[in-house]
């Protein structure tokens, strides 16, 4: 299903105009889900329904849909649809972010029917920031004072300049060294452990998340989205997240398995929903990004780094940017189309590609906007062809 987010804030689910004990509906500024659940818990009727709702959602998929059909769960749903919990949101990097996300999913899993292809992001929409557009224009020039690119005759490697800018900043250098040393430390082989992973992946992914959460994007994005004139630079860019540990694993899972694992974790599920929301190819925008908001797409892409669904450049070709996940669609039976559609949102995403290129090349680079027709749920094999009018 393709959700075009033509709104800055999307109500996905049915909204009711009926009276509710928690105050007349009307338009209300969405609270964060931590505050919303506190408010609900202060109201006896709401808190009891909220507890019922959590029981309705415990247990596997099969029991959940049967439970949701029950009267008690339906009743709980009624009340909760009018509570602040119903349209609460979360902010990236907020205090108690994980708790906020858990609260959000604890109610939204009940309101959706089965597994949706695209889920609504719990995060507040990312507004296109002027300073980001400005930064992406100067991303080349601001580094030019220190960047060898501007010195004639010197080999130009914007990714090396990005590393330099990071190394000259205490926080960036410290946190980059932190994730680097964890991710590139090979775990010594233990013959007794079968299928042993080459590194401690969970610790590596956590350190990687901390790097992108604590280092300002002016220093971290250039490491990821620098533009590359040659293969060595592109290989440096590909290695930024130490993919051998954070992205790859010994056994390549099915992409749907990757998505299922991700959606069983509140943080990963939220970041994936956010990526789908902000990087989803939208046909009627110039950049093929929702609201032409590159920053939103890049920010939600970076939000996935260090999660179970960690994307990365799939090769070190300097010009042709291809992003992929470490997964396969082999042996997914009749779900192969859905599996491929899920992976194509990374491998054939013109919005993501344009966003990366526009950040790296800045405006002087004359970003080559790729305006492929929007991908349907599954991309049409060919775009509609207008043939010449037949002679009448």
């Amino acid at each position: 299903m393709i959700l075009i987010s033509t709104l800055t804030l999307v109500f996905v689910l049915d909204v009711c105009v009926c009276d509710s004990e928690l105050g007349a509906p009307g338009w209300r500024e969405p609270l964060d889900c931590v505050r919303a659940s506190e408010l609900c818990n202060q109201n006896s009727q709401c808190s009891s329904r909220y507890r019922i709702m959590r029981q309705c959602l415990s247990g596997g998929d099969k029991e959940r849909s049967a439970m949701l059909a029950s009267k008690e769960c339906q009743g709980a749903l009624e009340v909760l649809q009018d509570s602040p919990l119903y349209d609460c949101r979360c902010k990236r990097g907020m205090k108690k972010e994980l708790q906020c996300l858990q609260n959000y999913w604890s109610i939204h899993m009940g309101l959706t029917e089965g597994e949706e292809f695209y889920e609504t992001s719990p995060y507040e929409p990312i507004h296109f920031s002027e300073e980001f557009r400005h930064a992406s224009i100067i991303s080349d020039s601001s580094l030019s004072k220190m960047s060898p690119c501007s010195e004639a005759g010197k080999p130009c490697n914007p990714c090396l300049d990005a590393a330099k800018a990071c190394n000259l900043n205490e926080t960036c250098k410290r946190l980059r060294s932190a994730y680097n040393s964890i991710c590139s430390k090979a775990t010594p082989p233990q013959p007794s452990v079968a299928n042993q992973e080459p590194c401690s992946r969970k610790r590596c992914q956590k350190a990687l998340r901390q790097f992108f959460e604590r280092v300002s994007w002016e220093l971290s994005y250039p490491l990821l989205f620098c533009s590359c004139p040659d293969q060595a630079c592109a290989e440096r860019r590909r290695r930024t997240i130490v993919p051998s540990c954070s992205h790859q694993e010994r056994h390549k899972p099915s992409c749907l398995e990757l998505r299922r694992t991700c959606r069983s974790d509140a943080l990963c599920r939220s970041r994936l929903a956010d990526f789908h929301m902000n990087c989803q190819m939208t046909s009627h925008t110039v950049t093929s990004c929702p609201h032409d908001n590159y920053h939103g797409c890049l920010m939600s892409y970076v939000g996935l780094l260090g999660s179970d669904v960690t994307p990365n450049y799939s090769d070190s070709s300097p010009s042709n940017i291809t992003i992929s996940l470490w997964c396969t669609c082999r042996a997914t039976g009749s779900q192969e189309p859905e599996c491929e559609a899920f992976h194509r949102d990374f491998t054939h995403n013109t919005c993501l590609k344009n966003a990366i290129q526009s950040f790296g090349y800045g405006s002087e680079g004359g970003t080559l906007l790729v305006t492929e027709p929007s991908s349907t749920f599954l991309p049409p094999a060919q775009p509609p062809i207008i043939s010449k009018p037949a002679p009448s």
Binding site: I2, V15, Q74, G114, L256, P380, S387, S392
Partner: protein
């Protein structure tokens, strides 16, 4: 009954009159007797969205249409914060028979998303042909279950644009490069599958939908492609392609978990690895032998993979069966047996859903013996303590797995004089936990230097665990240089690795030095390299990135292979420990190693 498509998207405009058809949902039959009944359904019956009354779904045709004319006020009622387009979400069900309870929960509804635009429908002049012919953005591609009944799967006509250009005639036809059982019902403009499909024949049909728009003067053709996918059903039984019997010989490798043999069972159906709980094309197997020894000793492991068949590239499943040991086998085990294994495609409805595999297993006993060669080793009396003399190994020891062999030295002639007895402390034997060979090394240099200790003859005894089987052989260690030439007794040996220059190195007597003197390795490469310069007790075994059984007795023997301490200067660590590569010269003190370019003056504070 099932929906070939679980997602529909369309646009509705202010001013569209009641009765306007919007789109048509379709259901396919699972059995000929089924009749679809379509219903709109709601997440909760008590609180339906305000727009729930604006639409109705025809119970028989599945056509969704407007119950009322859409007004400007309807748009503002919907208080989603948007100015141009608001989203209306509907869900629909298909049931076998009538129902009053139209609740979505637990019934796998399809989703209908309508973009409600705050403007009137574009007139004929503003509507291009593409908009007229096909939905704005086609939603999901249809999936049709194989072996089912023909029927309509999609409405090609854009119902909302039926009357936009009244004097146009719009017709459709469907084309395909390869023969495809699809047609267009000219009366209803529905795309119809005309015959049951066979996924094993074709998994996907790439259709070309051609829309012809005829006006008085011109015919315009607009094309778009549509992929129709065929869902799989377990309608094929397992088959063997080649032998159903594997002849297996178990000899050296007798370890728990060891796998032997390969038998392949094919199935033209798919076996999805995801979702895990999927019961489609599920195989299980049963060991047909009742002998408890076989049941406690062997298991059969089945791994399946997907492969594309040569003809047409259609995906199919290949099961690979291996015999697996559930426990270590004793070396004395000596037996032949035939093991039969019934493979069953549990979800295949037919009778021939099983095949039987046969494993003819021969277990050979292992004899622990030394090759009947006299093991000769030469050793200089000047050798330092821990100098490696050589290694001993029973026959085929490198291939052993599942049992262990330990080695010990014995004096062959028990009634030799007390003096001679003390000579035998000169050499000792050791072994790493996961290695199958023994390493001989110098244990007592004082004994090595005594003139009366001439040629040393030892008996090496190898004992197998757990059966305690033993074998022994004679080894002869020839001491080459005269006793008096050897260096003075109770010589204090340091680590060769401390020396940073060739001269110091080659004049030093280091631990483990086989010749008595340390050996210098001169590196030649620029930058960090595996061939760094260093001082070693024996360049054959150190550095070789492997901390062997003798070297691990004392880190000072070969810190280059064994150090776990910090390394200063440009270097790369070995996988477990030691220095894999270094810059310039690598040298080590007890707690720290250094790798740096030579020409070092001594550090003096000169300010």
């Amino acid at each position: 009954l099932y929906f070939p498509q679980n997602e529909y998207i369309e646009t509705v405009y202010v001013g569209q009159p009641a009765g306007t058809p919007i789109l048509q949902v379709h259901a396919m039959l699972d059995s000929n007797s089924e009749r679809p009944h379509f219903y709109l359904c709601w997440t909760s019956n008590l609180r339906r969205p305000p727009y729930s009354s604006w639409f109705s779904l025809d119970i028989h045709t599945g056509i969704l249409s407007l119950n009322k004319t859409l007004e400007e006020s309807d748009f503002t009622l919907q208080y989603q914060k948007s100015w141009s387009v608001k989203k209306l979400f509907l869900q629909a069900l298909v049931l076998q028979d009538f129902t009053k309870k139209s609740q979505c929960s637990g019934r796998n509804p399809i989703r209908i998303t309508l973009d409600f635009v705050n403007a009137t429908m574009p007139q004929c002049a503003q509507t291009d042909m593409k908009e007229l012919c096909f939905p704005h953005r086609d939603t999901s591609n249809p999936h049709i279950m194989e072996n089912r009944f023909p029927g309509a799967l999609r409405q090609l006509r854009r119902l909302t644009r039926l009357n936009v250009c009244p004097n146009y005639t719009i017709s459709y036809n469907v084309e395909s490069e390869t023969p495809a059982p699809f047609a267009v019902n000219e009366n209803t403009t529905e795309l119809v599958v005309t015959a049951p499909l066979d996924r094993e024949e074709s998994e996907r049909y790439r259709l070309l939908l051609v829309c012809s728009v005829r006006t008085e003067t011109v015919i315009t053709k607009v094309e778009t492609s549509l992929d129709v996918f065929v869902n799989d059903e377990d309608d094929n039984s397992p088959y063997m392609n080649g032998t159903d019997t594997a002849d297996i010989i178990i000899s050296f490798n007798r370890t728990m978990g060891g796998s032997f043999g390969n038998l392949f069972v094919f199935d033209r159906d798919l076996t999805p690895i995801f979702p895990i709980a999927q019961s489609h094309n599920r195989y299980d197997g049963t060991l047909l032998n009742s002998d408890p020894w076989i049941k406690n000793t062997f298991d059969i492991k089945d791994t399946f993979s997907e492969k594309k068949a040569a003809r047409g590239g259609i995906r199919e499943t290949v099961h690979n069966y291996k015999l697996v040991l559930k426990r270590n086998l004793y070396v004395t085990e000596n037996r032949t047996l035939q093991l039969d294994y019934l493979v069953n495609d549990t979800t295949y409805p037919g009778l021939e859903g099983t095949v039987v595999l046969h494993f003819n297993v021969t277990i050979l006993p292992i004899h622990i013996q030394f090759s009947n060669v006299t093991h000769m080793f030469t050793l200089t009396r000047r050798a330092s303590v821990y100098a490696q003399v050589g290694r001993v190994c029973v026959e085929n020891c490198q291939q052993f797995d599942g049992f262990s062999v330990t080695y010990r030295l014995e004096v062959p002639d028990k009634n030799v004089s007390a003096d001679m007895q003390s000579c035998y402390t000169a050499v000792s034997i050791t072994q790493a936990p996961d290695e199958m060979w023994g390493l001989l090394y110098v244990n007592d240099t004082e004994a090595l230097r005594r003139p009366e200790c001439q040629d040393l003859q030892y008996l090496v005894v190898a004992q197998e665990e757990p059966t305690k089987q033993e074998a022994s052989t004679q080894i002869h260690i020839i001491l080459d240089s005269e006793a008096n030439k050897a260096n003075p007794v109770n010589q204090q040996f340091l680590s060769c690795a401390v020396n940073r220059r060739r001269a110091d190195c080659e004049s030093a007597r280091g631990l483990g030095a086989t010749t008595g003197r340390c050996q210098w390795r001169q590196g030649s490469e620029k930058g960090i390299s595996e061939k760094y310069s260093t001082c070693s007790p024996d360049l054959r075994t150190c550095p070789d990135s492997f901390c062997d059984a003798v070297e691990s007795k004392d880190t000072s023997i070969c810190p280059q292979d064994c150090t776990k301490g910090s390394v200063v200067g440009g270097h790369e660590r070995g996988l477990r420990n030691g220095i894999q590569a270094g810059y310039g010269t690598c040298y080590c003190y007890t707690e720290k190693c250094f790798c740096e370019k030579e020409d070092i003056e001594e550090a003096i504070c000169d300010d």
